[in-house]
């Protein structure tokens, strides 16, 4: 799925799904994806915006995948630290994780079980797990949903810092345009089912450092573009 590794640590991600469907409970065929293609430059941070997109991007080709599911999906019977360590590949098993835990504010919670954590801490644990494996690609499935805004904002900042440090190619799936504009350097707007890309847009740098005015004006511009693209798409 990904091309030959380019210079540096991160790898580009190229994704092609010709079609994907499943059978619903009443036996009808539901097409969830049709002709979806996207390419992410090495080390880039992209955001895909669509309600139905989640749950469809799961399989990496080669390269290591770090994934943060919308529900944290921790093992309830393992501590925070064990949950992170268990995901480590064999060649990575003794890696030092203290830094990562500190950055994510998990240092004092390592021996706790997931049932004792708030949603925010559980998400942080899931994010720690995704970074601990030393990923080439990072897939984030609405990782900030149902957190209160202050906590979500801090987590966004920490996540941007981590992706910059780890030189990882990231795809964030979200509904939140503002969040996407704040974090990503490329946006993919997706249609309803069957999912395909209706608009792809690169954002001017710097990623993450945009002021709220800039974010707001880019977001407005994007909304207008998406509306046009959707109309054009409907006519086709």
């Amino acid at each position: 799925m990904n091309d030959a590794q380019t210079a540096g640590d991160a790898a580009p991600l190229e994704l092609r799904i010709a079609a994907k469907s499943f059978l619903s409970a009443d036996g009808a065929r539901v097409d969830v994806v049709r002709d979806l293609q996207l390419r992410l430059e090495a080390g880039s941070f992209a955001a895909g915006l669509d309600p139905d997109f989640r749950g469809q991007l799961r399989t990496p080709g080669s390269g290591r995948l770090g994934i943060v599911f919308q529900e944290p999906r921790l093992l309830p019977w393992r501590t925070v630290e064990d949950n992170v360590r268990l995901a480590l590949p064999a060649d990575h098993a003794n890696v030092e994780l203290g830094d990562l835990f500190e950055i994510l504010g998990l240092g004092s919670h390592l021996t706790r079980y997931p049932a004792e954590l708030s949603l925010g801490l559980a998400r942080r644990t899931a994010i720690a797990r995704a970074f601990a494996v030393g990923p080439d690609f990072l897939l984030l499935d609405e990782p900030f949903v149902s957190l209160d805004e202050a906590i979500a904002n801090r987590l966004r900042e920490e996540l941007l810092a981590l992706t910059a440090r780890a030189k990882v190619t990231t795809l964030l799936v979200t509904h939140d345009l503002t969040e996407a504009v704040e974090m990503a350097d490329r946006l993919f707007f997706l249609s309803d089912r069957p999912t395909h890309i209706i608009l792809e847009k690169a954002l001017p740098p710097p990623r993450g450092g945009r002021s709220s005015d800039v974010v707001a004006s880019i977001s407005d511009e994007m909304r207008a573009l998406v509306a046009q693209a959707a109309i054009a798409h409907a006519k086709r």
């Binding site: 799961r58 599911f69 093992l75």
Partner: protein
Amino acid sequence: MLQRTYSLIALIAIWAVVAALLQSRLLPGPLTIGAAILTDTRTGELPFQMACTLGRVAASFVIAMILGTIAGYAMGRSKTFDRYADPWLVVLLNMPALVIILFAYIWIGLDETAAILAVAVNKLPNVVVVMREGARALDPELDEMAKAYQFARFSRIRNLVLPQLAPYLAASSRSGLSIVWKIVLVVELIGRPNGVGFVLGSAFSLFDMAKILSYAICFIVLMLVIESLVVQPLERRANRWRRRPA
């Protein structure tokens, strides 16, 4: 705990009163039984017979749990396998314990293998039924997580599957232990030259109520001890991650 003790004391007291009123050889009082237990313990007869029975209970329990867990897991995970294996399971579930015991003794012979196998086969279908439910209840989302992070097979079983199956394992071992020891006694009664079941059989032919009661009580007490010293602590350990009210 205190209520349980009172209740037990009350039971023994009623027994003592009824025995004293009846003054019959058919219902010896608690003191007579206590004396009988002491005598047989001193001669070594009681510990030996209990050890024979306990060995059979342990062997058939372990066999039934291992085979039953594997089969139940496979049936819970694969619909095809379940469709093929389910009729066999229904047959086995409805086969009377006595019939299985007789088959085993006739086909294999009156030996230890037949005895243990007969008990294990009696217990097996219950384990399969419970473990199949457990395997069906495995969380597909955690499975997906393990696949994305490429958990090794052994790690997946140890960290994902077994903890989710733990309540089912606990349920089937607790119900299993009581089924197994009851059937072991029947197996011993029919075809073994030792064990608690054998002693009860010979005591029955002599109408020796004191012996029947003393061995039965000793074995029940032993099973209660195993349950509270082995099974319950294991269950608590498996459940320690659950959030407890402070």
